[in-house]
């Protein structure tokens, strides 16, 4: 009789285990490749319009008028080895080139990895004031420029993206 009790107990345990154990959950996930928009946490409405190692562009969909755009560029210049003077020259060149170009903010910092210039300016084109927010990172002879153009009150969004692009592309 004892044997039967043992056998029945074992049977109950085995059956119970397989009944109440957690069944493997089959979970189908759409493994979408993480987009740049998601990865960089772009504000709403901004999309990546061009993506390359050296050329990256973002733009925001707007109903009409100037399309806010942010452009990342990489270039090289021997003059960049003297970054302060080089940036001075670039700004002077921009002023002479875009005659209505006015610098609002010109902040320079030197970090371990290189030189950073944060330049905010505006110019008038077709009777419209265009705001430009730019960062120039200089590491040796390499010059990374992130430029954002917009009109109106998009300064925060533009700066947020510029910051994200800087971290992503320049590592800062």
């Amino acid at each position: 009789m004892k044997k039967y009790i043992v056998i029945v107990t074992i049977l109950a345990l085995v059956i119970g285990f397989y009944i109440f154990r957690n069944k493997p959950e089959v979970k189908l996930t759409d493994n979408k490749i993480v987009t740049e928009e998601t990865r960089l946490q772009l504000p709403e409405g901004w999309t990546l319009s061009e993506n390359g190692m050296v050329d990256v562009q973002f733009e925001k969909k707007v109903g009409s008028g100037i399309v806010p755009k942010i452009v990342f560029k990489k270039s090289t210049s021997q003059e960049a080895q003297n970054p302060a003077k080089y940036v001075d020259k670039l700004i002077a060149g921009a002023k002479s080139t875009v005659t209505s170009y006015k610098v609002v903010t010109d902040e320079r910092t030197t970090a371990d990895l290189g030189y950073l210039a944060i330049i905010k300016a505006n110019y008038v084109n077709n009777k419209q004031k265009i705001e430009v927010s730019q960062r120039i990172y200089i590491i040796g002879e390499e010059v990374y420029t992130i430029s954002g153009s917009y009109t109106g009150e998009l300064g925060n969004e533009v700066d947020q993206i510029i910051e994200a692009v800087a971290k992503d592309k320049v590592g800062k």
């Binding site: 957690n22 996930t29 993506n51 670039l90 005659t99």
Partner: protein, 462 residues
């Protein structure tokens, strides 16, 4: 039934139930993730890619390779397929079971091999031709001909790091099929034969540096039967490692994404069906003895370029800002304006010692961007208007010109002689005064003493 038999029977039943339970439920404990790759656009050369075990999202002919480490995270980019596969495998999900395969994903049979050095064309009958690989797009050639399956046409891409697109070579490497037979990559049996006629040779290839890493190529149409052209380029005359195997049946093509100031040599090659012709003459930029790119290396202004590139408005192309553009502050420094040199274009005015290269202004919207110490060229109603600052080393001496004085321009090597026919001092609002006759050119600068006025000189061809 004896007790022993009953015991054995019971134990057997227990074991049988246990075995059935194990067999019927042999899946591992825990969630099973089946990753589904949806249809999505493939990543092009140098784009950051997603690397997961043996799968990646680069386009055909590219492979996802290690790029750099940012913030402790290994990152990958799409590189030429010839680049060794990354040896490190990032952590990934447990099981990859793609149920839908992206059409742009490379397969082992369709991945073109890459030729990092100057190589022959795919044309089996012309193997001595250096340079670009031709990927014929037409497949109507009768007979057992080469019909490359490679349909991806790598666009010449930014080559900042000289990692441009190696020309894919539709090599007919025999491969063994599962059934033991041997075919070429296209699945066509036997040796490739091309019966197409010689597509001829394009003539007089010229290169014009456009600035911003772009060079425009122009050539004379090949006289032979051809359907398209291939463009090849590289850092010197012996190395044509980049190119576009099919730019269409055109006689002008802009190669972009070049390293500003870098050396580049180019040639083009006509092609038809399965055959490429002999290459054109080779032209080089920014190289002694060849065509030089002067305006890109010393005049490139990333700040201006960024302003221009990020401008998201309609380019109207009007010239309303022209008159105002000369009002700039004089500086002795040559400033990097970002305007580009118009190659082989200069203006010579012996009387006032002018002999300047001509620059093409950049444009933002309807605003022409003036250079600082540059003579710029624009057109109004198809008439050439040269304008510049009134500094002493630009157009500062323009006020001295009188009717009958000589002006010479050299444009693409062609010399044009003009004689001054009219000089005027006009208010800057008198834009109509810039209009000229069909045989005239117009020179403009601002008045040094009257900022609101412009000096305008018109000269007719002799």
């Amino acid at each position: 039934m004896s007790k022993t038999i009953k015991s054995y029977l019971s134990i057997s039943i227990v074991l049988a139930i246990l075995g059935l339970a194990i067999i019927s439920d042999s899946k591992p404990v825990g969630p099973v993730v089946v990753e589904v790759y949806g249809q999505q656009q493939c990543k092009h050369l140098n784009a950051e890619c997603f690397w997961n075990s043996s799968e990646h999202d680069c386009c055909t002919g590219l492979i996802c390779e290690e790029w750099n480490v940012t913030g402790g995270t290994q990152r990958y980019k799409c590189g030429p397929a010839s680049t060794p596969t990354p040896t490190t495998t990032p952590t990934s999900g447990p099981t990859i079971t793609p149920t839908t395969t992206s059409t742009c994903r490379p397969t082992s049979t369709s991945t073109p091999t890459t030729t990092p050095t100057a190589g022959p064309t795919i044309t089996p009958t012309t193997t001595s031709t250096p340079g670009p690989t031709i990927t014929p797009t037409t497949t109507s050639t009768p007979g057992p001909t080469i019909t490359p399956t490679t349909t991806s046409t790598p666009t010449p891409t930014r080559t900042e790091e000289m990692t441009g697109t190696p020309v894919p070579t539709a090599t007919n490497t025999p491969s063994n099929n599962n059934d033991g037979s041997t075919t070429n990559n296209n699945g066509n049996p036997g040796s490739p034969v091309c019966n197409d006629a010689d597509p001829g040779v394009p003539g007089n290839l010229r290169a014009t540096a456009l600035g911003g890493g772009k060079v425009r190529l122009n050539w004379n149409d090949s006289s032979g039967p051809h359907q398209s052209y291939a463009v090849a380029y590289g850092p010197n005359r012996d190395s044509f490692i980049y190119g576009d195997p099919n730019v269409g049946n055109v006689t002008s093509y802009v190669v972009s994404s070049l390293n500003p100031g870098g050396n580049y040599c180019f040639y083009v090659q006509a092609q038809n069906g399965c055959r490429g012709g002999n290459p054109s003459n080779i032209v080089c930029t920014n190289q002694a003895g060849g065509v030089r790119v002067l305006g890109t290396s010393d005049n490139y202004n990333p700040l201006v370029d960024g302003i221009k590139e990020s401008y998201g408005g309609e380019v109207l192309g009007a010239s309303t800002e022209l008159m105002g553009t000369a009002e700039v502050t004089y500086s002795k420094d040559k400033l990097p304006s970002g305007n580009r040199l118009d190659l082989d274009h200069s203006i010579i005015i012996p009387k006032i010692g002018v002999n300047f290269p001509i620059y093409r202004p950049q444009q933002i919207g309807d605003m022409l961007m003036v250079g600082h110490r540059e003579v710029l060229l624009t057109t109004i109603d198809d008439r050439k208007v040269y304008y510049g600052h009134n500094g002493s080393d630009v157009f500062g001496g323009l006020f001295q010109l009188r009717v009958g004085d000589q002006i010479k321009t050299i444009d693409e090597g062609i010399e044009n002689k003009y004689e001054v026919t009219e000089t005027r001092l006009v208010n800057k609002t008198e834009v109509e005064s810039l209009k000229a006759e069909s045989d005239q050119i117009v020179l403009v600068t601002c008045s040094f003493t009257k900022p609101e006025f412009r000096i305008i000189v018109k000269a007719s061809i002799k």
